[in-house]
């Protein structure tokens, strides 16, 4: 009796879903963070940032738990390495949100009026990208149910294609925002220019990790 129940390891897919929920909680705050930042509400920025730090920490805990429960002797329906690198990319999304929050709280950077439209557009594109990534991740439980093949897998593959498109759009928006920033560079002090480059980079990285997470998920699917 005991041997049969010992044969079943702890499924990593439910915790992976929990991890996704924590990352989502973290990244959902990015919109609030950027809104407050664009409006110049410093107090709000700080409050939202501290919520992001908390959610990122929670996601880290779930990540650690998943890793600790996956020794080499556990046999999974997907390659263990693929699953772990998916987890890593998904976690990096939350890390980027955290880094962005750090950038916005450690120095008061004023958003010039000329930059607001482009910045809003860029943030919007980044958010769209990660939202698709979250939809992809949320399918993990159903995928485990169908053993990562079939109609369900194709549905997720289509989502991943869409994700690539969104990331490409985010890249373009980043370019536009950077161009705009440099067009008013005379008005900005050098430290602000440096900060803007960092902020743009961090937003772009967030979208990149979202795309990578999708790619890693793609590796777990089987064509059949």
């Amino acid at each position: 009796m005991s041997i049969i129940s010992k044969l079943f390891g702890k499924s990593p897919f439910e915790p992976l879903y929990q991890h996704m929920m924590k990352v989502k909680e973290c990244v959902d705050l990015v919109r609030l963070l950027m809104d407050a930042f664009i409006k110049g509400e410093d107090k709000e920025v700080k409050e939202v940032a501290s919520k992001i730090f908390k959610a990122e920490h929670d996601a880290d805990m779930v990540k650690k738990d998943i890793r600790n429960n996956l020794p080499k002797s556990i046999f999974l329906p997907v390659a263990r390495g693929d699953l772990l690198s998916f987890l890593k990319e998904q976690d990096s999304i939350a890390d980027s949100a955290e880094d962005l929050a750090v950038l916005l709280t450690m120095r008061k950077t004023v958003v010039p009026d000329e930059l607001k439209d482009e910045l809003r557009d860029f943030v919007e594109k980044v958010i769209e990208t990660y939202e698709v990534a979250m939809t992809v991740s949320s399918e993990i439980k159903v995928l485990a149910e169908t053993s990562f093949t079939g109609v369900e897998a194709h549905k997720v593959m289509d989502l991943i294609e869409n994700l690539k498109l969104k990331e490409w759009e985010a890249d373009k928006a980043q370019m536009e925002a950077a161009k705009k920033m440099f067009s008013i560079e005379k008005k900005l002090d050098p430290v602000s220019v440096m900060m803007w480059m960092h902020i743009f980079n961090e937003l772009g990285t967030l979208a990149n990790h979202a795309e990578n997470a999708g790619d890693r998920m793609r590796m777990m699917l089987h064509d059949s």
């Binding site: 079943f8 499924s11 990593p12 046999f75 079939g150």
Partner: protein
């Protein structure tokens, strides 16, 4: 030969055999039924009832084949024609020794198999009584081979069944409609195999011996009936606004109950012999006053063994299933069906061939088979190492216990 001594020995053997049967029933019931309980297809109460009934039926209808192997297949009783009492002592020692070993191993949480223990016991007794030459090594070899082959064979069946389910149901655009189409076939196949194994040469005890063709036709008829019953049940299933894959699992519930019952039946057919095989040997000597090869296993003993299994299921099955059921929620009805179908078919086939195999190990092989078909979210492969080491220890350990008891009996009574 002293009749009263023989009677005392027989009573002792029956008591120990019954004790083993109860233990086997209590420990193994969860293997078949826990998945049905975990998926909510059966309440614990119903699972206990179904498992008990199926275990008894398997024991009575198909249990004699394996019992014969243990009784006279490994050590030829005819070698004891001049001193049958030694054979009686040996069999009593085997049943006592293996029961003792299984209890000790369970205390140390070693996953030992009763099957391996009883074989170790009988072979151990054979070695010290009639020597290396007195043991039918060919049969022993077959038995040991069957231990290696049966989990692999079952695993292949389970892999195939789950791959079929995956290809035709889980990967399809309309999983629910596909379940309605394919589910009844599975039901029909289970009923067909089960009936054939019972009807063909299985009803000797009931003095109903049908030739193969007749048995085949009757079984086919029952299988077709099973198909239509399955079809009817699946037609009645109402679709809901819910993820179709979860609905497929719900639809597979009755199939899983069927395969779980099938596994309990096979378990009874194979494992009853571990408890009553040696007892049957002693019984035969007592009946004829000499060692006989032709006496068949009495149905009373099979019934007694089956009742012991069922009693074990009834007394402890509840608790065992509760603990196991909680841990194995990851095995859903489609997976459960695949694994149980493979296990039951393998164990039943081995039973008909007279091969004593470990139902638990076959079940492990089958679950791994489903896992290889990517059906289970996490399998702990460390278990295989544990099983293998327990396997290797069981044979000499149970043999040693048996030998000690054998010499003690000889010393006291002769």
């Amino acid at each position: 030969m002293d009749i009263s001594l023989l009677t005392v020995i027989l009573v002792a053997a029956v008591v120990v055999g019954l004790y083993s049967a109860i233990n086997i029933g209590a420990n193994d019931v969860a293997n078949a039924m826990a998945t049905s309980v975990a998926s909510g297809a059966l309440t614990i109460k119903k699972a206990v009832l179904v498992a008990g009934i199926c275990d008894i039926l398997g024991a009575i209808l198909v249990g004699s084949h394996v019992a014969n192997t243990i009784r006279k297949g490994l050590v030829d009783p005819l070698q004891f024609s001049d001193r049958p009492i030694l054979f009686v002592f040996g069999m009593l020692a085997a049943v006592l020794g293996s029961a003792l070993w299984v209890n000790i191993a369970t205390c140390f949480k070693l996953p030992v198999s009763t099957t391996h223990s009883i074989i170790g016991g009988v072979v151990g007794f054979g070695l010290v009584s009639v020597g290396i030459a007195g043991i039918k090594w060919k049969i022993v070899l077959y038995v040991v081979l069957s231990w290696i082959i049966s989990p692999v064979f079952g695993g292949i069946i389970a892999f195939t069944i789950f791959s079929i389910i995956k290809k035709f149901i889980l990967s399809s655009k309309e999983p629910i409609a596909q379940t309605r189409k394919i589910g009844p076939f599975f039901a029909g196949i289970v009923i067909f195999i089960l009936s054939l194994s019972v009807i063909f040469k299985g009803l000797k005890n009931l003095h109903l011996d049908l030739p193969f063709i007749e048995a085949l036709l009757i079984s086919l008829g029952l299988g077709v009936a099973g198909y239509f019953i399955g079809k009817f049940l699946l037609q009645r299933f109402k679709e809901r606004e819910e993820d179709p894959y979860y609905q497929v699992e719900k639809m597979a519930n009755p199939l899983q109950v069927l395969s779980a019952s099938y596994q309990a039946f096979s378990h009874g057919a194979n494992d009853v012999a571990n408890a009553i095989g040696p007892v049957a040997a002693i019984w035969a000597v007592l009946q004829t006053q000499k060692v006989e090869m032709s006496v068949s296993v009495p149905i009373e003993l099979l019934l007694l063994g089956g009742a012991g299994l069922a009693f074990g299921v009834y007394m402890w099955g509840h608790r065992v299933m509760e603990t196991v059921g909680k841990r194995i929620t990851s095995i859903t009805p489609t997976r459960g069906f695949s694994a149980e179908f493979g296990t039951a078919t393998t164990v039943l086939l081995c039973s008909r061939l007279g091969m004593p195999v470990s139902t638990t190990h076959v079940a492990v092989g089958n679950i791994i088979g489903v896992g290889l078909a990517r059906g289970i979210s996490a399998i702990n492969l460390d278990v295989i190492k544990k099983i293998f080491s327990a396997w290797v220890i069981s044979l000499p350990a149970a043999g040693l216990f048996t030998v000690v008891i054998y010499f003690l009996l000889k010393f006291i009574f002769l």
